[in-house]
């Protein structure tokens, strides 16, 4: 039985695939050469015959090198994962040995994560969620401001709005809007319904037409023109409301 001293291990460094394969092939050729010499061939003949019987050395060497490089990569990955698993198992055992600490830590983490999740989902819904219009990052709200007297934002006067929309160069289009309530009458008792008043140019700013029907037309903004509404999709069932108020 041959001895099993890991010769390369002693030197501390693993040889690369190229050297390893070359050494293995050379060992084979030397063995074969010796066997042929024993069977009567002269040394140079023997070596040549050994190489001939081996076949295309470079091709086999390249094949083996490819296989080896792949194998080493796979082995390193496996060992890395095994290391991670081992660390996890050790951590789990340590935690189970100290149940008081573990329970406290878990509760604190749960509380902290829960609070964070709540806060950030609120933030996303209320503050960070984009408006459902194309290029919503380009939509902004403009207020009048009087910080000296303690009014950081307040509503814009009509005159200011007309001046700004006419003279400002930084904005593609502007629209003014105000919230109000209107009385909806028709079939059934009158209801107070939240409504928005808008100036001409809503569609230019939002970038989309209404889902059904058309948007406001310029003549409808003249004094004395018939009043028109766009029914919102939001809290009311738009179609039910339409059937209620329209003839």
């Amino acid at each position: 039985m041959p001895g099993f001293r890991g010769v390369f291990r002693l030197s501390g460094k693993e040889p690369g695939p190229a050297e390893d394969v070359a050494a293995e092939f050379e060992a084979h050729l030397q063995n074969k050469t010796e066997a042929l010499i024993r069977s009567g061939l002269p040394p140079t003949e023997a070596r040549r015959e050994a190489e001939r019987k081996f076949g295309p050395l470079t091709r086999y060497a390249e094949e083996c090198r490819t296989i080896d490089t792949a194998e080493r990569k796979e082995r390193r990955r496996r060992e890395w994962w095994a290391g991670i698993w081992q660390d996890l198992r050790q951590a789990a055992r340590a935690l189970l040995r100290a149940p008081g600490f573990t329970t406290t830590a878990v509760l604190v983490l749960a509380l902290g994560i829960g609070l964070n999740a709540t806060i950030f989902s609120l933030l996303r819904g209320v503050v960070l969620n984009p408006l459902p219009y194309p290029e919503s990052s380009r939509l902004i709200r403009i207020y009048s401001s009087n910080p000296k007297d303690g009014w950081p934002h307040f509503s814009v006067s009509a005159a200011d709005f007309y001046d700004w929309s006419r003279e400002s160069k930084g904005f593609q289009s502007m629209v003014a809007w105000a919230g109000t309530y209107v009385a909806a009458t028709g079939i059934g008792p009158a209801e107070q319904v939240p409504a928005g008043l808008v100036s001409n140019g809503l569609q230019a700013v939002t970038g989309i037409p209404p889902m059904m029907g058309r948007g406001f037309a310029a003549p409808e903004f003249e004094a004395g023109a018939p009043k028109v509404v766009i029914i919102s999709y939001g809290e009311t069932d738009a179609l039910a409301f339409a059937r209620l108020v329209l003839p």
Binding site: H28, A35, K53, E63
Partner: protein, 111 residues
């Protein structure tokens, strides 16, 4: 000189696993072992053995380790792993069924 048969890579792997089933061997020993037992029919190019060996190592069916041979020379020894041993059993069964099936067809054709 008998023409050497073209062995499928898979069959060569099976022969190597069998060769290693008694004790670890290095590449040259595997070549001589197969050569002796198959009585010259399987004189494939000796170099073809090495990709087969390296593939077996990659699949985890053999382990390879450098050691010293009897004549005190460095040699890379291949050893069958437990998984390799089960693989050998499975492949032998498969081979025997294959041989029996093909044999049946070939014998029928003679008539």
């Amino acid at each position: 000189m008998t023409a050497s048969l073209d062995l499928l890579q898979g069959t060569l792997g099976l022969l190597v696993l069998k060769a290693l089933s008694w004790r670890p061997l290095h590449g040259y020993e595997v070549a001589t072992w197969i050569g002796e037992r198959s009585e010259l029919e399987f004189l494939v190019e000796e170099g073809a053995l090495y990709p087969a060996l390296h593939r077996l190592e990659r699949r985890g069916w053999v382990d390879a380790e450098w050691g010293l041979s009897e004549n005190n020379r460095k040699a890379k020894y291949y050893r069958l792993t437990p998984r390799g041993r089960s693989q050998l059993r499975a492949e032998v069964t498969l081979w025997e069924r294959y041989v029996s099936a093909v044999g049946k067809v070939l014998r029928t054709a003679e008539r």
